[in-house]
């Protein structure tokens, strides 16, 4: 076996906080071999960012490596001075950060930002370095690299910015590449293209890659070996197929089961939520760090820290009970799969009368400020363009779309936060008008919402009790005393202790805050709750418990949801009806049961094929979409998806708006290809359009102005 490129041994990294040292990485060892992609998985607070910063020798001012070693090609990094590190950074190790836009200098041309690296490390001249930068950009499949090199970061799309950052990291062929959540901020179709690009570019000269992510699907797709971190410690470290098929740690096993898989619904399975939350640095459990949340913890787990043991060659695990898990005598679940709510789908039944009716809704914005509008006619952004959608009573309608699809504008117009340009929104036959302040109390009571960021939607100066009392008094018309007594019942309903009523939001974790936001939404017994990405800012283990809670509460109270998300698996889990939106228009609407079987609108098909599946053996052909989502100012003619459609027919798609087509199960999609033809094409595994090619990204004019 060749010697490792990166070797971390018994590393302890601590932060100095209020006169004490708190460990953020405790006794972690790992070796990354040449040609290997090593996954580092963990939720927020697991210590994975600290570990990466320590490896990069870029810890914050109050952080320090307290013991252990970090070697790069046998060279001890910890003994290097900052000036010595400058010879390592950018030449022997480089990093692709999470958020490409903020990681690029807004005032420098992207070509220069790449070129300065080879000038620094390879002594190239100005002109040679510029040529090298253009090469690097072509290498990441950017078409017209010379033109792109002269642009500034804000003139590029998110996917293009990420390619620039990757080109930057690879331009000097470093020995170690650290990818820090490189696709987390991207849409799923863009992510798919970037992951394929990594397949092609990584390990060209037997270099090593450390891939940090919280997404198990991405790990399964990309990595050879995976380390799972939890609360500063290494829980399990194994080859990727071992980890996904024969995990020996209760934490890994729980993580694998708390994300919904494509096609799993709330009537099939109850997600395995991990109770509680990751302990803070200050309150790290003394023995096994996972014991307080572990479903199979024994008395010894709270008393003695388990050693990291090699259970099989190359498979290390830190658990007292791994032998029982390995021989099958201990299982996390009792063998039977429990559904979150009973019933077997609503496919057969006729849907009840609609609660919310959206008819031919259009939402348009004028782009640019006052000055721009005075002196030049700017384009109109058509955020929502002729959408009609019904939400039946007690149903969940999931609305899926990528960024810029108009899903949030649609939700905001229902709530009354943006003005509608034309069309009608009716709740129980009453037309909704105006801003929330102008709507009458009954409408406000019937229509509630849950937002993405609970910390921003709870008033930090109100206790939880006050927050929950307000809708009870103002909307349900209860007296203060009655409302007071109902607060406890509300907290029970969202599984929070009753004494939380006297706490303030900053004393709660993210998941707990979202529970409070849900309790507030349910307080006045609404008919409809608009949920705008309610779980996307939460860790996966917490996300599962919120999804279970939403399913449970809906089943008890028959409240309808309009559930907005970019995550098809999450929508697929919770929804009864799924609607897919692209550039302001619905392209597909249908019952969630059987939604994941063809025929699909070609856009839905591409979305589905892009989702990374948490199974390393899944061999799937991905469909690549050409280019970026067009600007909502200049919407393409005919079918608005024709510029990127992998099943593009020809002139008809450019010239004519496609008709709605309905399959025999009542699912509707908007495409020129008839039902039978589309189904046959999508069921044929040899007929995957554009499968081999990673599409080149062409620069487009951004923003449509100037």
């Amino acid at each position: 076996m060749s010697s490792p490129i990166l070797s971390v041994e018994n590393l302890v990294v601590s932060y100095h906080l209020q006169n004490e040292w708190l460990d953020a990485v405790r006794d972690v060892s790992l070796d990354v071999l040449p040609g290997q992609t090593y996954g580092l998985v963990g939720e927020s607070g697991s210590g994975k960012s600290t570990l990466v910063q320590a490896i990069m020798r870029y810890l914050g001012a109050n952080g320090a490596v307290r013991s252990g070693t970090i070697r790069l090609d046998g060279d001890n990094l910890l003994s290097k001075t900052p000036p010595q590190m400058r010879d390592v950074w950018g030449s022997k190790m480089s990093m692709v950060p999470q958020d490409p836009l903020s990681s690029l200098n807004p005032s420098l041309r992207v070509g220069e930002q790449i070129a300065e690296i080879s000038r620094r490390h390879e002594g190239l001249s100005q002109r040679q370095a510029w040529q090298r930068a253009i090469q690097a950009l072509s290498q990441v499949r950017i078409a017209d690299a010379e033109e792109v090199a002269r642009r500034y970061p804000h003139q590029l799309s998110g996917g293009m910015q990420q390619r620039v950052v990757i080109a930057m990291a690879l331009s000097t062929s470093p020995r170690l590449l650290v990818l820090d959540e490189p696709t987390t901020s991207l849409d799923v179709t863009t992510e798919a293209a970037i992951l394929d690009l990594f397949d092609e570019l990584l390990h060209k000269n037997q270099s090593a890659t450390l891939f940090v992510t919280h997404n198990l699907g991405v790990v399964a797709r990309m990595c050879d070996r995976v380390a799972v971190l939890y609360a500063s410690e290494l829980m399990e470290d194994a080859p990727v197929s071992e980890l996904f098929h024969h995990s020996l740690h209760p934490y890994t096993l729980s993580l694998l089961e708390c994300v919904p898989r494509i096609g799993q619904g709330k009537r099939d399975i109850r997600l395995r939520a991990i109770p509680g939350q990751i302990p803070s640095l200050r309150n790290a459990p003394p023995a096994c760090v996972f014991a307080p949340r572990c479903p199979v913890a024994l008395e010894i787990c709270h008393r003695v820290k388990p050693p990291l043991e090699e259970a099989a060659p190359g498979h290390c695990v830190k658990c007292h009970r791994w032998r029982e898990i390995a021989d099958g005598s201990l299982r996390l679940e009792d063998g039977q799969v429990e559904a979150a709510i009973p019933g077997n789908g609503r496919n057969g039944k006729r849907a009840p009368a609609p609660l919310l009716t959206i008819e031919n809704l259009r939402v348009q914005f004028e782009s640019g400020g006052l000055l721009n509008r005075l002196f030049r006619g700017d384009g109109t952004v058509k955020a929502v363009d002729d959408v009609s959608l019904d939400v039946p009573r007690g149903y969940t309608v999931g609305l899926v779309g990528e960024s810029g699809s108009g899903k949030t504008s649609l939700a905001r117009s229902v709530i009354g936060l943006v003005d509608t340009t034309s069309g009608k929104i009716e709740l129980l036959g009453v037309e909704l008008h105006g801003r929330p302040g102008q709507r009458n109390r009954e409408v406000l009571r019937q229509l509630q919402m849950v937002f993405q960021h609970p910390e921003e939607s709870l008033n930090p100066y109100h206790t939880i009790g006050e927050t929950l009392r307000r809708p009870l008094m103002r909307l349900a018309g209860q007296s203060k005393a009655v409302a007071e007594s109902n607060v406890g019942a509300l907290l029970d309903a969202v599984h929070l202790p009753r004494d939380y009523a006297s706490r303030y939001p900053n004393e709660l974790s993210g998941g707990e805050k979202q529970r409070v936001a849900i309790a507030r939404a349910f307080a006045a017994q609404p008919e409809l709750i608009v949920c705008d990405e309610p779980v996307s800012s939460l860790d996966v283990s917490v996300q599962a418990s919120i999804l279970n809670l939403l399913a449970e509460l809906q089943h008890e109270r028959q409240t309808a949801y309009l559930f907005i998300s970019h995550d098809l698996a999450v929508v697929g889990y919770l929804a009864d009806i799924i609607a897919v939106i692209y550039l302001g228009q619905l392209v597909e609407v249908g019952s969630a049961k059987g939604f994941f079987e063809p025929p699909h609108h070609p856009y839905t098909e591409a979305l589905l094929s892009s989702i990374p599946v948490p199974d390393p053996d899944a061999q799937r052909e991905r469909i690549h979409l050409e280019g970026d989502v067009p600007s909502a100012v200049n919407i393409p003619s005919g079918c608005r998806f024709h510029t990127r459609c992998p099943r593009f027919l020809g002139q008809i798609c450019v010239e004519q708006e496609p008709p709605w087509r309905t399959d025999e199960h009542g699912r509707q999609y908007r495409c020129h290809i008839p039902v039978d033809e589309l189904r046959a094409a999508q069921n044929d595994p040899t007929n995957v359009p554009h499968r081999a090619e990673i599409p080149s990204l062409h620069p487009v004019e951004r923003g449509g102005r100037g």
């Binding site: 950074w89 690029l104 500034y152």
Partner: protein, 313 residues
Amino acid sequence: MPYVARRFLFFLLTLWITSILIFVATNLLPGDVAGVILGRDATEEARVALRHELGLDQPLLNQYVNWLTRFVQGDWGRSYSLRTAIQPVVLERLRNSLRLALVAVLFSVPPAILLGVIAGLNENKPIDVIISVGSLILVGLPEFVVGIVLINVVALRWRLLPASSAVASDASFGEVLPQLIMPAITVAVVMLAYIGRLTRIGVIGEMRRNYVRTATLKGLPHWQVIFKHVLRNALLPTITVIAISLGWLIGGLVVIENVFSYPGLGRLLIYAIGNRDLPLIQAVTMISVTAFASANLLADVVYSYLNPRIRLQ
């Protein structure tokens, strides 16, 4: 339409609206112009005749249109109190104000930026505290106090520089330079703290941005990270504020010009108001407003040039 052209139209619009405000405001001032010119003993017939001659008996709108047309053509009228054409007087004062502004900028901007960058790069370290506290003490001093102390110490006690800055109207820039130094230092004391604090905040804010980490992890030398990456962005607000403050330096230094008896626009305005010289007030205010508006235009153009996010929307 390109950004600069749009911005220029906005500049003209600003000037037009202020011209209306200035005209209306000066006409609302109490007192009869003909009476002021002719003195208390003039007959009613003489006043009526003069009002007719000056066009003061016409409707206000006509008066405004006539005034604006002539003003744009360069005919700024005659001063009642100086009994000369206004334009040469105002232009000479404007030249004096520009000279003082230039010297003041040279005295204040380089040290302010230098101190601000040093303070920002050493956030909360002793050097930062010394610079920050020192500049705050300076900015707390009223400008006439600084001016008088300078006159007493530098001019009267040490006899290094002349105490009065009352320059001759035909003196060259080289000749007046010694007389400009003390007023310029007084201005610099005020601007130093302001610009220095702004620079410090800019540097601190930019140092926390992710692209600084990217630049550092490229292995670039520390000075290159600072000069090439950080300052390019950190100094944007500072440069804008410097450009805007040019307007104040040209048209707003009333107190300092008075302390040093410097013949700038500010003193001329005080004189015009003291003598109820309406045409002179109108001309000086219009020129001051033009200076402020030009400074703002300059600030926006410079900012858009330095900031590709504005230039290349």
